[in-house]
Amino acid sequence: MNTFVEALLEALRLILTLDPVVVEIALRSLQVTAIALVISAVLGVPTGAWLALTRFPGKRLFTAFIYTGMGMPPVVAGLAVYLLLSRTGPLGDLGWLFSLRAMVIAQVIIATPLVVGVSMSAVLAVDPSLGQQLRALGATVFQSRLAVLAEARVGVIVGLVAGFGSIISEVGAVMLVGGNIDGRTRVLTTAIVLETRKGNFDLAMALGIILLGLSFLANLVMALGQGRLSEPS
């Protein structure tokens, strides 16, 4: 009955002694998450701002697609990437299935709509008269939009944290397209699934604690940054 306590103690030991397997898997998770998040931010923040600040035909339809993307089950994104990258698929020649690249692609597809959606809401929340006033004061269109984006920074940062959370905790898609290959594509979430199936609950728990810890740390850093950023300067 005390499997839970035993697993917890062993998990703490694995973490405190910096067990090489645990460290390697944690670093790989961070690597995939970091690359995917940067790409999502570069694609998503400008797109969200653009959607909020411009009018064009079909905008509502496009926005509906973004919102659908925000609620898309990650495993569906994984399946699509799998079929695209399989040797029998349209991008099969790349030979990217079962690699970190495939995982990054799936993660970007999952996180980008989230970043776009939240950035858009954040920019929409900025007082619309700000841009007009800046233009009246002689700012170029680009300068005034930059200023609006700067006003929306807190919301944008929240979007990035949400993206980080969805990327690092995702399991189904990366399992499908990465293949959970030891030493190559095995990350925290897929390792937890595998070790639980093998009955290695202590190792699974150690990895779970690290996953929670990383998520907490990211949120803490963002919360602190958010506090500082939202203070009037």
Partner: protein, 290 residues
């Protein structure tokens, strides 16, 4: 809005874009292995039993060192492994479903299939054995008793080699299993043993995975073993280079030859958990040497 703030924000955006440009240029770890001096990559799609039992971790480092290769193990059910092979997404397969392997070769997906090793399936269940099958010799008759008693039975339900074997036993018993007692989990062997253990139900397992899980504290016991129908042979197949020019056919063939060589077969024979042998070598080379 003070200009200083705008400048900070600009720098932030610039840094992000720079990072984004740098990201594709910084090769992910997996790509580094593809350059010339680094090890060649071999993708092995296999069944969960060979990886979950620890056999592959025991033998593969020897191959990787001898051939300067890195073997990427994608451990899934036999059904999925065959699909991965058919699509050309793996270089070589190590699976256990003899009839489907023969069909796979006949269809031209692999030039040949080679015997590697065998173990056997066992019917496991709770020590109290509510269906009363302990010590029986006929697997189909035991399945019939389990169905009659309505005791929980957890099926892989995932089109794996083990699932395929289970279905053939139900067919032999003339039963189409259905009802509350019959649960198709759709998961790997390790997970199914855990589910059966939690529910104190029966299941069919390959012996290797069961021994490995028993060492981690599963309370189920082997209740029936030794029926000829429970024989579980493993075969290795290189993927056809004719059909999929992108596969690493040369390394795949070297892997096959290495796996069925007497030296590797001896390693397979020496692999034990808690003093129990998990797999028995069965290649032509090994049998000729005996």
């Amino acid at each position: 809005m003070p200009t200083r703030n705008i400048r900070v924000w600009l720098i932030f955006i610039l840094t992000l874009s720079l990072l984004a440009c740098a990201a594709p240029a910084t090769p992910p770890a997996d790509q580094a292995a593809e350059s010339d001096s680094d090890p060649q990559r071999l993708i092995l799609a296999t069944t969960t039993s060979t990886e979950n039992s620890g056999l592959l971790a025991f033998i593969l480092p020897v191959f990787e060192e001898q051939y300067n290769a890195s073997v990427d193990v994608v451990a899934v059910g036999t059904g999925q492994a065959l699909e991965i092979g058919e699509a050309g997404d793996a270089d070589v397969l190590l699976v256990h479903d003899r009839s489907r392997e023969d069909i796979f070769v006949e269809a031209g997906n692999a030039p040949a299939r080679y015997d590697v090793m065998y173990n056997d399936f066992v019917i496991i269940g709770p020590a109290v054995d509510p269906a009363g099958i302990r010590g029986m010799e006929d697997a189909a008759a035991a399945f019939a008793l389990i169905a009659e008693a309505g005791s929980p039975f957890v099926s892989r339900g995932d089109d794996s080699g083990t699932h395929s074997k289970e279905l053939s036993i139900w067919a032999a018993a003339g039963i189409e299993p259905s009802g509350d007692w019959y649960q198709a989990a759709g998961q790997g062997m390790g997970a199914v043993i855990t589910i059966a253990d939690e529910q104190q139900g029966y299941t069919l397992s390959d012996r290797a995975t069961f021994i490995a899980r028993q060492a981690e504290g599963v309370s189920l016991e082997v209740l029936l073993e030794g029926d000829e129908a429970l024989f579980n042979p493993y075969g290795v197949m290189p993927i056809s280079a004719e059909r999929h020019p992108d596969v690493n056919a040369e390394l795949a063939m070297q892997f096959v030859e290495w796996l069925i060589s007497v030296e590797t077969q001896e390693m397979i024979a020496s692999f034990e958990i808690n003093g129990q042998k998990l797999f028995f070598p069965d290649s032509d080379a090994w049998n000729a040497a005996q």
